[in-house]
Symmetry: C2
Subunit: 433 residues, 2 copies
């Protein structure tokens, strides 16, 4: 199937951040085959479908590099609390009641929202991951998934989790035409012993998949790490051997200069969860310093329980503005760099920069279309500025993954929103709190 979208503005996010006006984007099945000026009528004859993209901006789909999508079932359940209290008194007692069914419908809410707001790839660290993988397979979105392992409890419980995580990788890695990839994920240095993390590292090497872990989200956690292990979390994870594996860390809010150097040295990838870090009063990560040292920094929403949505356009704008404000540097994280964080750096953080994250021939046809014919996108001036500073996820009209429309003209194609709303409400009301 050869498809082409014509007469659109193409924001490529290639190495030159090229923008093509009156452009066209062609794809054959899953793969991008044409990016350039709109072809002539005779040239268009070779396509099976020609879609008029007048007044549309086409850009790479966003990559959300950290979250817990099942937790959308807890949206709005507990706000305005410190992270440890929020986790221990609110989230964990509710999550203890979760079955596969809760994760299924929480994840359904999340996938719907991500498709609607232009995310085409997401990272998920949670439990009952088979449900998440099945939904990724069925809805057509792309996911880098891992069974998160909290190391509390008995040795038997830990080994059970490790066995589940291992089985999940074996069952799902590179499934659904490669849309599903997997990682191995100890929850955090403060919830997993060094020995348990080391076991997981070993398994990740054996399975040949990357590592994903929360790190240095709060000051409290960093202080506790120093108390418990004598070193800050970065040195701690380095010592355990985590960074010898390809690794994506979430948060990385509290870092010293030396810790940034270590992350750069090992090419550790970072998911910047700016909204969640503000809402949970964790702080503001040192993103300009990380970028300056060459660390690959991407954007994550974290869960709907600490955000409280999965609209990555919010992170995109905030990544471009907050670091200016808190460092008094008006060129900290320019618009183009924020856009790269949301797209190509996100692809790099899920170790797929050769497949997704920019619109270039040979890559997967993962892209979104925005309605440019709206007052807040005019004067028609600078599309990258408008996408970063003026847009919102709700400007997305079409979401395409691997050449398949998951949303077309704002209509979801692969998932039933009414059903998901109904089931999520029903399950939430049955929880005890």
């Amino acid at each position: 199937m050869k498809t082409i979208i014509t007469n659109a503005t193409i924001i490529t996010v290639n190495s030159q951040n090229e923008v093509i006006h009156n452009g066209a984007l062609g794809f054959t099945d899953q793969v991008l085959t044409y990016i350039g000026p709109t072809p002539t009528e005779p040239e268009l004859a070779g396509y099976d479908e020609v879609i008029d993209g007048t007044n549309k901006w086409i850009m790479p789909g966003l990559v959300n590099t950290h979250g817990h999508v099942g937790m959308s079932l807890l949206r709005g359940f507990a706000d305005d609390l410190p992270l440890q209290q929020w986790l221990e008194d609110k989230m964990w007692p509710m999550e203890a009641q979760f079955t596969a069914e809760h994760v299924k419908w929480g994840t359904s809410l999340s996938i719907i929202e991500m498709i609607r707001t232009g995310t085409t790839t997401f990272v998920d660290m949670y439990d009952h991951m088979g449900e998440v993988a099945k939904l990724v397979a069925d809805t057509g979105i792309r996911g880098s998934l891992c069974r998160g392992m909290i190391g509390f409890g008995t040795e038997e419980q830990r080994q059970q989790k490790l066995a589940e995580a291992t089985a999940f990788v074996r069952e799902w890695n590179n499934q659904a035409d490669g849309r599903i990839t997997t990682m191995m994920a100890p929850h955090a240095p403060y919830t997993c012993s060094p020995e348990f993390i080391a076991q997981i590292v070993e398994k990740s090497a054996e399975l040949q998949v990357p590592m994903h872990i929360h790190m240095s989200e709060t000051r409290f956690e960093v202080e506790q790490n120093v108390r418990d292990y004598g070193v800050r979390p970065v040195a701690h994870l380095e010592n355990i051997g985590v960074f010898a594996r390809p690794t994506l860390v979430a948060h990385a809010v509290h870092l010293t200069d030396e810790e940034i150097e270590i992350l750069a040295k090992y090419d550790v990838k970072v998911s910047h969860n700016v909204v969640s870090n503000l809402k949970l009063a964790s702080g503001v990560a040192r993103v300009p310093e990380m970028l300056a040292k060459g660390v690959s920094v991407s954007l994550g929403t974290d869960s709907s329980a600490s955000n409280n949505n999965l609209n990555l356009f919010e992170e995109l704008k905030l990544a471009a503005t907050i670091h200016k404000g808190v460092t008094y540097n008006p060129i900290a994280v320019p618009a183009e760099e924020a856009l790269r964080m949301a797209t190509i750096y996100g692809a790099d953080c899920v170790f797929q920069a050769n497949q997704i994250g920019s619109l270039e021939i040979g890559k997967q046809a993962d892209f979104i279309m925005l309605d440019a014919n709206q007052a807040h996108f005019h004067p028609a001036n600078n599309p990258i500025s408008h996408i970063v500073y003026a847009a919102n996820g709700r400007d997305v009209t079409d979401t395409v993954v691997a050449g398949k429309f998951l949303m077309r003209d704002r209509q979801l194609q692969t998932i039933d929103e009414e059903r998901a709303i109904h089931e999520a409400d029903r399950l939430f009301q049955q929880l005890s709190y």
Copy 2:
């Protein structure tokens, strides 16, 4: 004309932040006449129109307490620059070319965006204000408007501006059924001499309208004030007598404890422009401290040139999250307080808290309706949390001011978006830069 909307969730923002489930909101012409449970069928017979509000949240329209709506014509023209350079090298040379026509179509873009994203009242400080007033009158939105006066140039030019500002107040104050109010607005302490500001204060007393002024937006400006006048801006404006008048200051980013005390003492109103302050690298205002001292703090977008949109839901969420993050206090600005900043405190900041800002019988029927039947608003749990943390302006389906629908089922009723886009693009392209 008696209208009632039934079966909705009413977020009143009254003194108890009451939320009414399965509620109804009735209004006769411009005024709210019923807020309570959905009446029985016989009781509904007394209404001329009964609108089914199933799956809708109804809340007060948002109040945007600082902006320059004509500047939407410069959206995306200059980003990622320090405030003084952005103003002096980019904004002012472009604005010097502005005619009434530029302001008319820039303002049109802005009013369209505000109606679409749920703002029912806005403050505007700009030039060619007759154009803005005419558009407010014609489109049905509510505006608190002032001719901004930059004191550079000759004495003749300053007196010309003061005469224009005075004439504008005389012509437009309390026009359009009271939807238009006016203020007197010296631009800032760093652009107006104390003598000029004093003249404007005197005129504001004579005309019996409030004062509006930028204050303490950047560290640079505070330092300059100390250099030039020996005191920081708050003492400076106090000394000139500004605060003897009802006053709304915009920004107030850089304040000492003593300055916050002075603002509280005079009941000076503050417009917190959190997105603009981040984007221009100005800093983060001390909002929790101001609120703790009883200062009335509301939300403003500033202009589309420094934001770059007028979607006040972004300021609402950021007001509720950023102060938590930068002060490490997870209860700084709870959701309910942020919602009050966007509504009833906004009404107070434009000196109309007895008329707008909450849904209470006798107040103006200024309200918005949101589509609650969307995945990101579920589980159906806590509407205030969802409005503050999960919503976006594009969730607004209906915008009503003084009982008149300006948008209904997402269709604009009083202004032509296609025309505004066309004219704004045309005018922008003709500017020299």
